[in-house]
């Protein structure tokens, strides 16, 4: 039990993605991109980040106190990673241009739920889980790039 606890702490604070781009980047031009915002609702106290560009460009970690917004293009796939054990990776596909969507996560770190406002703009693909914290969610990205 203690080992699991240590692993969770390790997971949350040490193996956090070091690469990030700035949060809340907004571009008001009609540039074909859609804006996706990810919020954590009350009760969801876990850390998460959002990765685009085949998993290479990720937001800073954010928690209940803030959301993040990303600019994506139609056809992109991206994932929202949740720092739990196993790590949770929710994959989404962008299906619309010049639009916006809000993904709201809620619930516990062990069983996170979400709502999508703007499901004509993004489509939820699948939830992956992994104990491989080194490869993380990115290990699945290729699969979704190919499939969608």
């Amino acid at each position: 039990m203690f080992k699991i606890f240590i692993l969770i702490i390790f997971n949350l604070f040490l193996i956090f993605p070091s690469y990030s781009n700035s949060t809340n980047e907004y571009n008001n031009q009609e540039n074909g991109k859609s804006s996706i915002r990810v919020d954590l609702l009350f009760g969801a106290g876990y850390m998460m980040w959002v990765c685009t560009h085949s998993g290479n460009s990720c937001s800073s970690a954010f928690t209940i106190t803030n959301g993040t917004a990303i600019e994506v293009e139609k056809g992109d796939t991206f994932y929202v990673g949740i720092a739990a054990l196993p790590r949770i990776c929710d994959f989404y596909k962008v299906t619309n241009s010049n639009s916006l969507a809000v993904i709201s996560y809620w619930g516990t770190v062990f069983k996170p739920n979400f709502n999508i406002f703007g499901d004509e703009t993004i489509q939820f693909l699948n939830r992956e889980t992994t104990y491989n914290l080194i490869a993380g969610c990115q290990q699945f990205q290729g699969k979704y790039n190919e499939k969608y």
């Binding site: 809340n24 907004y26 008001n28 919020d39 009350f42 809000v102 709201s104 809620w106």
Partner: protein, 580 residues
């Protein structure tokens, strides 16, 4: 009481007492207020067969009360005529009574009693028939004005018909809603064409095709029923009449029922929702642009409003939505939890410093309730997502205004309001004063577009807050600003007065203009509401005046009322103060 002539014989007197005693609930009211039998006989020569009773009147927020007033529930329009003609001859006022879900004292003044010579006509029990005609496009519904909105919408739903605009409480009577240009929150979404289906984005009054009003017939000097078509100039004053008329029946244009989805968002900060246009893509205006139907409820001292976004969908239920088959799907907002009730008691007792915690608890209950009740994303027939306020919800008072402007100004209007509201709240907080303990509520609707009424040369409702200003044809939206608080909260009227002055000064032509929301709070003074004479004479009159029209809409409406009700049978002190 000696000057009151009672023409009853002793037998009639005893019979009357028996009738009065037979009134179960009303009798208890009479007893509890210590009325005596002499008071109960103050209606000389009252029409035979019509037995009025004494009943308590209390409006939604409890700010307008009468311990007992003569009341009668007529079985048909002819009975109303009998009472109205009796009232004319006996110098009484006749006031229609629905669910009393109103804030402003348009029906009666606060604190009156039987000596005030007022008789209330309760339209709910019998005047609620409805008839639907689908033989031509657009479909029509003819309804008596005592029908509740929920019952009307149920009847429409059975015939695959519905409304785009309707107030959130289903208990309201149709007559009450039409009297004060009741509205919802809707403008057209991108690529939406609900107009072609017979819908409209203005107030419910804009859907009226014809109506029947009680008016004076000059020849007989008696009040009669008269039907007005929407194309008739005089009809304009009856579409929204504030209680200065009595409408018994209306025919409305109705559209095809729609499947609608309502999604809640509670994670976007107010600084973005109400921020400047360039601050965020997740602004109120962007949501309106995308979906057309948006409402924000922003609890005090919290940073994230509860946003509801409605969208019209096809017959297929969106995968993520929960189907709802009845209205009122936010039970957490209709029922008070113990903690909230305790805090309310504390605030009402004058300890308002807990207001910030109270606001946070309201947000917490909303967030938790949306999760627990799976109400984040609901879908169903329009009625089931458009009606969401039950009578058991928290009863508060509120100020109400609508800013008329161009759709492209929505975000500017809201950002200015947000900035000033924050400034004012902070200014009070610095003095440890918390005048506002309820949320700010924002809705956006279209204006009264007469062209929305198909196949008729419709004229606009003269007294609608959403009537278009003929000088600014490009203005196409009304942005509703409501600030809620418990009645009697210390300094609340002063706060309302300050923000009212700012609102009217800030939203000025050619950028925008403001009108009051008739049913709510306006004309504030430091310690009162609806009593600021200067405000009523200047701001309200001005808001119904257009430089390119020869007379103001208030004056025009007043002339029509004078013509059809010269005895002011249908009036109240507040209405008189508006000079209509």
């Amino acid at each position: 009481m000696k000057n009151i002539k009672v023409k009853s014989s002793r037998r009639k007197f005893i019979a009357n007492l028996a009738k009065i005693a037979a009134l179960s609930s009303s009798v208890s009211t009479i007893k509890s207020f210590g009325f005596n039998s002499v008071n109960a006989l103050q209606l000389p020569n009252f029409p035979n067969g019509i037995v009025p009773y004494l009943e308590k009147f209390e409006n939604w927020s409890g700010e307008v009360k009468a311990r007992a007033l003569w009341t009668y529930a007529p079985k048909n329009s002819l009975e109303i005529l009998q009472i109205v003609n009796w009232a004319k001859n006996n110098n009484y006022k006749v006031r229609p009574k629905g669910k009393m879900h109103n804030w402003s004292p348009l029906t009666i003044a606060n604190g009156i009693d039987v000596s005030s010579r007022v008789i209330l006509i309760d339209t709910k029990p019998y005047l609620n028939k409805v008839k639907i005609d689908k033989s031509q496009f657009p479909s029509k519904v003819t309804a008596e004005t005592g029908i509740s909105m929920e019952n009307l919408l149920n009847a429409l739903e059975e015939q695959d018909l519905g409304l785009t605009v309707t107030p959130a409480p289903g208990e309201l009577t149709l007559g009450g809603v039409l009297a004060i240009n009741g509205h919802g929150s809707a403008v057209a979404a991108a690529n939406e064409n609900s107009l072609s289906l017979g819908h409209s984005y203005g107030s419910l009054s804009n859907l009226i095709i014809s109506l029947t009003a009680i008016v004076l017939d000059n020849e007989s000097n008696k009040y009669i029923l008269k039907k007005f078509e929407r194309s008739e100039p005089n009809c304009q004053a009856f579409l929204v009449h504030l209680g200065r008329a009595f409408i018994t029946e209306v025919t409305l244009q109705v559209g095809k029922n729609q499947r609608m989805r309502c999604q809640s968002i509670i994670g976007i900060p107010a600084s973005e929702i109400f921020g400047k246009e360039e601050v965020s893509k997740f602004s109120f205006a962007k949501l309106v642009e995308k979906n057309g139907r948006v409402e924000a409820i922003w609890f005090p001292f919290t940073d994230k409003p509860w946003i509801k976004v409605w969208s019209v969908t096809d017959e297929q239920k969106p995968k993520a939505s929960r189907e709802v088959k009845s209205p009122y799907n936010y039970p957490f907002s209709d029922n008070l939890c113990d903690e909230l009730a305790k805090m309310i008691k504390t605030i009402i007792s004058g300890k308002t410093s807990i207001t910030p915690q109270f606001g946070k608890l309201e947000y917490f209950i909303t967030a938790g309730g949306l999760e627990y009740n799976q109400s984040f994303d609901i879908w169903g027939w329009s009625k089931n997502v458009l009606l969401y306020v039950k009578p058991s919800t928290l009863r508060v008072t509120e100020s109400g205004y609508v800013v008329l402007t161009k759709r492209s100004n929505i975000q500017r209007v809201l950002n200015e309001f947000y900035t000033y509201y924050n400034y004012l709240i902070e200014k009070y907080r610095e003095r440890s004063i918390y005048p506002i303990n309820g949320p700010v509520e924002i809705r956006v609707t279209g204006l009264e577009e007469s062209d929305d009424i198909i196949n008729t040369s419709a004229l606009p409702p003269l007294l609608s807050s959403l009537k278009k200003n003929s000088k600014y044809s490009e203005w196409d939206v009304g942005i509703w600003l409501n600030i809620l608080t418990f009645p009697g909260t210390p300094y609340s009227n002063e706060f309302y007065m300050n923000i009212e002055q700012w609102i009217f000064a800030n939203y000025s032509e050619p950028y925008a203009a403001v009108r009051v929301e008739w049913s709510k709070g306006w004309a504030f003074e430091r310690n009162s509401v609806w009593k600021n004479k200067l405000f009523i004479e200047n701001q309200i009159s001005k808001s119904f005046y257009s430089e390119i029209a020869p007379v103001s809409d208030l004056e025009l409406a007043s002339a029509i009322y004078q013509k059809y009700d010269p005895y002011h049978i249908f009036s109240s002190p507040l209405i008189e103060s508006l000079k209509i």
